[in-house]
Amino acid sequence: MTLEPGQAFPDLDLPDHTGRPRLLAELAGGDPVVLLFSRGWWCPKEQRHLREITELQNEFEVAYTRIVVVSIDASEVQAAFRAGLGARFVFLSDPERRWLQRLDLLEETDTLHRPYRPTAFTLHPDLTIHAVYDGYWYWGRPTMEDLRRDMRAISRAVRDDFEC
């Protein structure tokens, strides 16, 4: 599956951190999205990066933009991790690695957990990919400024009244 800018990201169907079935398009709800594939709660790099993202949610909450995290953690584990972070965005749970295979995002060097390879996508409301960040190396992940820049670019493209 090609996951490059301009391509349509598949409409993931996974349970959220409460166990409720969700669709990515429904979560987008007509807004730009930051979609983060995360190794899992145990990884110090994920903990560090998601703390940054949780800080950024204070801007997202007033900016009509969304954050969605996907990992192999079970829903109840995600719920606890999310609560510890103080996050108010959705986590999607894929312990069966159902989408991991289809998206070809397996991190092959972690044979213990077989997690998602840390990868971030910024998406238009219709799930068209704007940018991709390979976060296998920590510095490959989007900084908060990268995400602000992408959300600004997407919002400018999709909000008719962005520049009155």
């Binding site: 409460t18 969700r22 807004d31 909450e61 007033v62 969304r66 719920a79 609560a83 996050a87 108010r88």
Partner: protein, 152 residues
């Protein structure tokens, strides 16, 4: 209350009963999705609002922002599968009159963050439909529609 924004529906509350539309009691605007579709019968609606017209705050009031954050952070998760829907109660494009959380079974209402603003009353209702809970982290309203309704 004249013309209401697209994505809103009217709901009236007299302190004991809820009615769709502008009936007796105080009239609010709710997320229209909550009243559109197949209603769950004998649901439990925790109405955190008062019939008194003086019970009003602005949506931009810090505490009205904070209860929406709390709903996203833990209230929705606490309710789990019991949750049918939730909506704030708008009086107009700027003013908040309360909120309703609707469940299939009695819930820990004493924890309801919206009850910190206006006290809650449990009302049995056949009006409300199942709506996927808001994804967050957005707490802002859209063109005057009662949070979490509407979309651009």
């Amino acid at each position: 209350m004249g013309k209401i924004p697209k994505g809103s529906s009217r709901l009236s509350y007299d302190g004991r009963e809820l009615r769709a539309g502008a009936g007796s009691g105080r009239c609010f605007m709710v997320d229209a999705r909550c009243l559109r579709g197949t209603a769950v019968q004998s649901a439990y609606a925790h109405v955190c609002a008062l019939p008194d017209d003086a019970a009003v705050l602005e949506f931009d009031h810090p505490e009205v922002q904070q209860v929406r954050r709390d709903a996203l952070a833990w209230w929705i998760g606490l309710l789990g599968d019991a949750l049918i829907c939730l909506t704030t109660l708008a009086l107009d494009e700027a003013r908040y009159g309360g909120a309703i959380t609707v469940t299939r079974e009695p819930a820990p209402w004493s924890e309801d963050p919206f009850a910190r603003i206006f006290p809650g009353t449990v009302v049995r209702s056949d009006l409300f439909c199942e709506v996927a809970p808001p994804a967050g982290p957005v707490i802002e309203r859209r063109a005057g529609v009662a949070w979490p309704g509407g979309r651009f």
